[in-house]
C-alpha cells in the first residue's frame, strides 16, 4: 500500500506590539481585538471541535512572542471586553436604525449573533485565556506550536550586527519556554527572511527546523533532489522545509486566489467608512472619524462600481467548494509521486490573520478543509515536527538568500521611506552590546539591570519588521513610523540614563509599564 503523502498546514499568527496604556482608548489596539474576534477565537473553536470528535487534523501554529504577550496581558483583556461591548452596541444600532435597508438590518443581526457566540466562547469556554487554550490543543496533539523572532525583526537586514539576530532568537526561545514550559522545536523566520549562515544562529538558539520560500531551495547548493517536498538539512540538526508554491498561489493570488471569489465578503467596504458619525461615535476612539469596524455589508461582486449585498450562506457554500478543491489538488500532486518509504510533504504556510479577518470565510474554509482531510485516504495531515521526527531530512543543502516579500528578497523592507532606519538599529544594537558587555554605567546594579532590560525591550520593539514594511505604504504608515521613532527615543532615554544616572524611579516604572513585554528578559542575549 502506498504511504499517503503528507500535508502540513501552517499558520503564522503575529501582530506587532500595539498596547497603549498611555491612551484610554487607542485605535491601533483594535488590530488585536479584530484579530481575536475574527481569527483566533474562531480558529480555537474549530480546532477544539475537531479534536473533540477525534479528527486526525494536525496544524503547525506559529505564535509570535509579541502576540502572546498581548494575549496574556490583563489590561488588553479588559479593553477587549470593552471593545466587544462597543461593537455589540454598534451592531444593535444598525439593526434598529430607521434608515437601514432590511438586508442591512438582517446582516447587522447576523453580526450581532456571531459576536454573542464568540463572546460566550471566549468567556465561558476559554475563561478569557487564549494562550492556555492553544497550549491545551498542543497537549492533545492537534497543534504543534512554534515561535518566531522576538518582535518579528527582519533578520537579513539585522545581520550587520549578529548580536541583534541572536537576541531576537534567544529572547523568542526564552519567552516560548516561559509561556509553554518547553523549548520550541520550530522557528518561523519573520517574512520567511533568510540569509546564508542564519541556520547557524538558529542552531545556536536551539531550534530544529524552519521554513523557507520555494526559491530558497530551488537555488540551493546542491539543488535538493526532492524539491520542496522533503525537508533538507541546512546544518547540524537544523532542518529546512520548503513552501509549496501551488498551495500558496491558490490562496494568495489577488486575481484568482480563493479569497477573490465574488461571493466572498468585501473587506474594504466597511460601515466605518460610510460617514455616519453619530452611529460610530461610541465605537471609535475620540478624534477618529473613520476606521474599520468589522461590520461589512457587501460582497466582492467583481469589477468596479456598486457592490452587491453580502449573502453569508452563499459565501459559506463557496468556502466548502474551495476547500474541497484545495484538498483534491493536494491529493493529486501527492499521489503523482512514485511510492517510496519517504512520504512527500506539502508545506502550506499562511498568515493566520488571513483566515477570518481579511478573508472572512477563511475560517469556514479551514473547517471544511478539516472535514475533507478526515475523509481523504491518500493524504495525511501532519505537523512539521511530526514529519521530521519520523522521516528525517533528505540531504544537505545551502539555501539562498530569500524572503516571501515582493520579488522574494529584502527590498520590501529597504524602500527609501524605511531604509534610513537600519543604521539606527545597528547603532543601537552595538551600543547595547557595549553596555551589557562592559558594564560602564554609573547607576546602582539593580537599577542598571532594569534600565538595560528596558532599553533592550525598546530596541527589540524598534526592530519589528512591521514598521519598516508599512512605512510609506499609505494606511498605518504614520503610526508605524511614529512607533519606530518612539521606541528608538525610549532607547536613547534609557541608555542615557545608564550613563548619567538621570532617571527617576517613577519614570522608569512608567516606561516599563508601557513596554511591558518579556518580563524575564535575559540580558546575556545582548552581550
Amino acid at each position: 500500500m502506498t504511504t499517503p503523502g503528507h500535508l502540513a498546514m501552517l499558520l503564522h499568527a503575529h501582530l506587532p506590539f500595539v498596547r497603549h496604556p498611555e491612551h484610554a482608548r487607542h485605535l491601533e489596539e483594535h488590530w488585536l481585538f479584530e484579530a481575536i474576534t475574527d481569527c483566533y477565537l474562531p480558529l480555537l473553536s474549530l480546532l477544539r471541535e475537531a479534536a473533540s470528535r477525534g479528527s486526525g487534523f494536525r496544524l503547525t501554529l506559529s505564535l509570535s512572542p509579541t502576540l502572546l504577550a498581548m494575549l496574556a496581558d490583563q489590561l488588553l483583556a479588559k479593553r477587549y471586553l470593552d471593545y466587544l461591548e462597543r461593537l455589540g452596541r454598534l451592531c444593535n444600532g444598525v439593526a434598529v436604525h430607521g434608515g437601514s435597508e432590511p438586508a442591512r438590518r438582517s446582516l447587522a443581526r447576523f453580526y450581532r449573533q456571531r459576536l454573542d457566540r464568540l463572546q460566550a466562547f471566549y468567556l465561558d469556554e476559554l475563561g478569557g485565556d487564549l494562550v492556555a487554550a492553544f497550549a491545551e490543543l498542543e497537549d492533545g496533539g492537534t497543534v504543534e506550536l512554534m515561535t518566531t523572532a522576538a518582535t518579528h525583526g527582519y533578520l537579513p537586514l539585522l545581520r550587520s550586527r549578529p548580536v541583534a539576530v541572536r537576541a531576537q532568537l534567544g529572547v523568542a526561545r526564552d519567552h516560548f519556554r516561559d509561556t509553554f514550559g518547553r523549548v520550541p522545536q520550530g522557528l518561523w523566520l519573520p517574512e520567511c527572511g533568510y540569509y546564508p549562515g542564519l541556520e547557524e544562529e538558529v542552531l545556536q538558539a536551539g531550534f530544529r527546523y524552519f521554513v523557507l520560500d520555494a526559491h530558497a531551495l530551488q537555488r540551493a547548493s546542491p539543488c535538493p533532489r526532492h524539491g520542496v517536498y522533503a525537508p533538507v538539512r541546512a546544518c547540524d540538526d537544523v532542518a529546512v522545509f520548503g513552501r509549496d508554491p501551488d498551495s500558496a498561489q491558490e490562496v494568495w493570488c489577488p486575481h484568482v486566489g480563493y479569497p477573490a471569489h465574488p461571493l466572498y465578503r468585501e473587506y474594504h467596504s466597511d460601515l466605518g467608512y460610510e460617514g455616519d458619525s453619530a452611529l460610530l461615535e461610541g465605537f471609535l476612539p475620540s478624534g477618529v472619524d473613520a476606521a474599520p469596524t468589522g461590520i461589512k455589508f457587501h460582497r466582492i461582486t467583481g469589477g468596479v462600481g456598486s457592490k452587491a449585498l453580502y449573502e453569508p450562506d452563499a459565501a459559506l457554500a463557496q468556502a466548502g467548494r474551495d476547500a474541497r478543491r484545495f484538498v483534491e489538488r493536494r491529493c493529486r500532486l501527492l499521489t503523482s509521486f512514485s511510492p517510496t518509504s519517504r512520504p512527500p510533504i506539502v508545506v502550506a504556510p499562511y498568515d493566520a490573520e488571513l483566515f477570518g479577518h481579511w478573508w472572512f470565510e477563511g475560517q469556514a474554509f479551514l473547517e471544511a478543509l478539516i472535514h475533507r482531510l478526515d475523509e481523504a485516504t491518500d493524504i495525511r495531515p501532519v505537523t512539521l515536527g511530526e514529519h521530521l521526527r519520523f522521516h528525517g531530512t533528505a540531504g544537505d543543502v545551502r539555501p539562498t538568500t530569500s524572503s516571501w516579500g515582493e520579488h522574494g528578497y529584502n527590498g520590501a523592507w529597504l524602500r527609501p521611506d524605511a531604509a534610513w532606519v537600519y543604521l539606527h538599529l545597528h547603532q543601537a544594537a552595538g551600543e547595547l552590546h557595549e553596555l551589557v558587555s562592559r558594564g560602564d554605567w554609573v547607576v546602582e546594579q539593580d537599577e542598571a539591570m532594569r534600565l538595560m532590560r528596558q532599553a533592550a525591550r525598546s530596541l527589540l520593539l524598534a526592530q519589528s519588521s512591521d514598521w519598516t514594511f508599512q512605512m510609506g505604504r499609505g494606511g498605518g504608515s504614520a503610526y508605524c513610523e511614529s512607533r519606530l521613532r518612539d521606541q528608538l527615543a525610549r532607547f536613547r532615554f534609557l541608555t542615557g540614563a545608564l550613563r548619567s544616572g538621570g532617571i527617576r524611579d517613577e519614570q522608569l516604572k512608567a516606561v516599563e509599564w508601557m513596554d511591558n513585554l518579556f518580563p524575564n528578559l535575559d540580558l546575556r542575549h545582548f552581550g
Binding site: P21, E22, L27, W31, Q74, L75, R159, S160, P162, V165, A214, H215, R219, G227, D236, P245, D246, Q249, W252, C253, V256, H268, P285, R321, E328, S336, S338, L354, H357, W358, R398, W404, G405, E406, G408, Y409, N410, D417, A419, L423, H424, Q427, Q470, G476, A478, E481, S482, R485, R490, R492, F493, G496, A497, S500, G502, I503, E506, Q507, K509, W513
Partner: protein
Amino acid sequence: MSADRRSDLGSEFEPAGATDVGSSTLAARNAGKDGDDLDAQALRALAEDISRQFVPQLEHTALVLYDRDPGHLQAQWYITPEEIAQARSLFPNQGTGLQQVLRLRRLDQDGRAEVVASAVQGSGDSKGEGLGTFTLQPDGAEYEYEYECELGLESGDGGWLVVARSNRIALPGRSIPPPRIGSEIGATRDREREGSREPPGSPQLPVEPALAAVGEPLYPVFPNLELEEASPTEGFSPPLEAAPGQVRALEHEPETPPSMRQHPARDGGTPPPAPLERDLDRMPPPLLPSTPEPGRPPELLGAHYDPRAAFSSAALRGASPPRLDVEIQAELIVRGHVSPGSKVELFGQSVQVGDDGRFCVRRPVEDLMLLSLAVVRHPESGKGHRETE
C-alpha cells in the same frame, strides 16, 4: 542624559513640590500605583516628552551594504560632522570643490578589487547621510563576486580619500531566470472563472503533464517549478546602456533620509494598515542569484560591519592630492582544512566548514599601528609621507 535634560522632561515628571506642579505630576498621580493603575494622561505626557527630546540620531560613521533585490545593491551611510571635517582638512584649501562619492568595488576570487560603479552623494560640504543604489549586470561568471562599498571624498584632479568602508556582500556572477511559479494554475483558474463558476470536476493541473514528460518515477525535482528562459521580471532588468559585467549607479538624486524629519503625528486616528493588500503583494518571487559555487570555501558568517574602517586609508602628498591611490586593507585571512564534519570555532564564532573540510574566515585587522607603517615615496622629490588613519 544630562541633568539639565532630565529637568526638561516636562512638568509631569517633576517631583510634587510645594510651588509648581501639584497634583498633575507623574509622581503624584501614580504614587503607590502599579500596572494598570498608572494614570494614562501622565504616561502619555512622559511618552511624548521622551519622543520629543530624544529624537533618534546617529552618532558614529557607518556604511552598510545590503543585497536589496536580485541584481540590486543598496548602500546606506552616515558620517559624523567631526569626521567629515577631519577628512576635508586633509585636502588643500580645506577641501573646497570636493564631492562625496560612493564607490562600489567588486572583488574576485583572488582578492583583486575593481571599482565597478560610483555615485556622487553630495558636495562634501555638509551632507552627513544618504543612500546609493546600484544595479548589477551579471557577466556570466560561474563563480561568486564579493562587493563592498566605499564612501570617500573625491577632488576634481583625481584625489580620493576613503572615509568609510562597508561590509561585503557575495553574489554570483551569472543571473538566473525567474521560475514559473504557479502561473499555469493561475491561467487554469482564470479559465474557470471565465467559464462556469463551479466547473464539474477538478481542472487539470500543470504538474501532471510535467511529471509525465519527465518520465522519472522518483520524486522529480521541482515538478511544478520549471525553469524556463523567461524574461526577467521587474527588478531583474539590467540597465540597457550597461555593458555585460558592468555596474551602474541608479540615476537619481541622492536622497536625504527622513530621519531628521519632523516627528509624525503620534496620536490615534490613523487607520490600520491593509495587510490584505500587503499580503497579496507577496507574490511568488523570482529566483535569487546568491548561491555559492560548490567547493568554494564558505565565508565568514554574516556581513562585516566595522565603522572603524573610517579613515582606514588616505593618500596625500604635497600641495595637491596625488594621482597615486594608496590603500591599506589590513585583513586577517584564516584558511584551513579539517576532517569533514568537524566543528571549528574562530574568534568566538563557529565557522562553516565545507563538505570537503575546508574553511575560510576573513577578519579586519584592528591594530591601527599596522596602518601607520605604509609610506609613500615620490622618486623625484624623495619625500616620504606616512599614511594617516
